[in-house]
């Protein structure tokens, strides 16, 4: 038994302070993104979530440029982008996709610029990799209280808003008829999504952040149709994928070809995909409740 454990877990995993921090931050982030993600999938706003994540890349890289922590950069720009998206508020779905795509291009362009300026002007290497693909093992411990704070705040807001948000997501007209301020709720939700995406970007990078936002939530919603249960399932799946990803990345330190470790983000994203395919296979057997 001991031998199996040793084979699975390279020594020093739990005793390394970096790892413990990564587990804590990663776990917290997974829980927050699970909560927001459930609503994202319900509202069909995965493209917006992806766009926010990608635009966040510009924020993260600008942070490097001006020397503040990437989390602030991610947060700043995703919140600004979310506000812009809400203000523009294009009605037609197709128009929204186009405009989102264009803004995305602008965001990435800015990210390219900031990264370039950052590397030439202040000689910070590793910025592109960190911003885009995350660096969960290398986060400073000062991030933990921030993640805790923002994460708890977002979850609390979601919990408070969960019923009106549910109603608005299902039918805005119905919600408006009951006196719910639809636009306000929608804006609050976008804000929550911006924070979740920023947190996710911190752990697995801006480009891959969508995986944590949408993946576990989509799995959970396949397995159950009750939002509360879905949240717990999504949180469980998300934390599981993140921790297992961390473990595998730690183990991979001795793997070929460079014996430098494989990226954490790769493992997390792959595990999320596997979870999603598995949940698809598991639910495919179920008879359809509705005929199509």
């Amino acid at each position: 038994m001991d031998a199996v454990l040793h084979a699975l877990v390279e020594p020093g995993f739990l005793s390394s302070p970096n790892v413990r921090l990564a587990l804590a931050i990663g776990g917290l982030v997974a829980i927050v993104t699970a909560g927001v993600g459930v609503f994202t999938v319900l509202r069909g706003q995965s493209f917006a979530g992806e766009a926010l994540g990608d635009i966040g890349a510009a924020g993260g890289s600008s942070a490097y440029l001006i020397g503040i922590g990437p989390l602030w950069g991610f947060l700043g720009i995703s919140i600004a982008a979310a506000a812009a998206m809400e203000l523009i508020g294009i009605q037609r779905a197709r128009g929204r996709d186009l405009a989102t795509g264009i803004v995305l291009g602008l965001g990435f362009g800015l990210a390219a610029l900031f990264l370039y300026l950052g590397t030439t002007q202040s000689n910070t290497t590793g910025a592109p990799v960190t911003i885009l693909f995350g660096s969960l093992f290398l986060l400073p411990s000062s991030n933990l209280p921030l993640v805790l704070g923002f994460g708890a705040g977002t979850l609390a807001a979601l919990a408070t808003l969960s019923r009106p948000l549910m109603l608005v997501s299902v039918s805005p007209e119905l919600a408006a008829a009951r006196g719910i301020p639809v636009r306000l709720v929608g804006a609050a939700y976008l804000l929550a999504m911006a924070v979740a995406v920023a947190l996710s970007a911190l752990t697995i990078g801006a480009i891959l952040s969508t995986a944590l936002l949408v993946g576990p939530a989509a799995c959970a919603l396949r397995l159950t149709s009750r939002p509360q249960r879905a949240f717990f399932a999504a949180a469980g799946i998300g934390v599981g994928c993140t921790w297992l990803g961390l473990l595998l990345a730690w183990d991979s330190y001795y793997w070929p070809p460079l014996h430098n470790g494989w990226p954490v983000s790769f493992f997390v994203v792959t595990l999320v995909l596997i979870a999603h395919l598995a949940s698809g296979a598991a639910t495919a057997r179920r008879p359809h409740g509705r005929s199509r």
């Binding site: 037609r92 197709r94 128009g95 008879p287 359809h288 005929s291 199509r292």
Partner: protein, 271 residues
Amino acid sequence: MTDAPALNVSGVTVELGGRRILDDVGFRLTAGELTGLIGSNGAGKTTLLRVILGLLAPTRGTVEVPSDGRRRSVGYVPQKFLLDPDMPLRGRDLVALGIDGHRLGLPRPSRARRERVQEMLAAVDAEQFADVRIGRLSGGEQQRILIAHALISNPRLLLLDEPLANLDLRSAREVVSLLARIADEQRIAVLISAHEMNALLPVMDRVVYLADGRAACGTADEVVRSDVLSRLYGHRVDVMRVRGRVIVVAGDSDDAEPTHPHSHDHGIEVF
């Protein structure tokens, strides 16, 4: 003039997801006839149209549509259409695509082609808005463009999926008389699906009445009768004619026999 039917549906049954959506549906259409495919939502009209178009394979049964050699000679006007107001395509372009949209390579601009398009636009009275972006036209205008597009290839069968659904009364009457004229002049078999039969009564030659996947076919006088529809629905249905319009009243679903007229009437379903 051939005697071959323009459409031959025989024993078509469609089962999807454990439900029987169409049950042994069969009928024939001949050239020059305008037929109404009547049924409420969920009765199976769209499914039947999809089977006829070859988009859905029936569980049992066959469908024969007219063809010129290899290509099917069927025109189709779908119900929901383009909502993107920015799309760079004029009505005229869409109608032109009806001639040869399936051909590879670039079209050679020819006067004959242009004239044919113009002719078709005139036939459906769409010349005035032929050069406007198609996504900006009203529902009725878009529909006329779609009809021109479907007709320009000279099909022998024309199918329309709920063309009257979103039209105001006047536009509906205009479209109906246009379609009747087309059926008659061009000797095309026209099949129009609708959930409201009254707009079509003046021009319908025949009716295919769908209820719960079963069909009754014949002229309006033969089919739209209390006994026929009651048999079709499996419960009591009364058909009343008021000033030339038809009203179908559904009784209590437990009634097997007609009782006295005013009992257990659960609301009026006007078809």
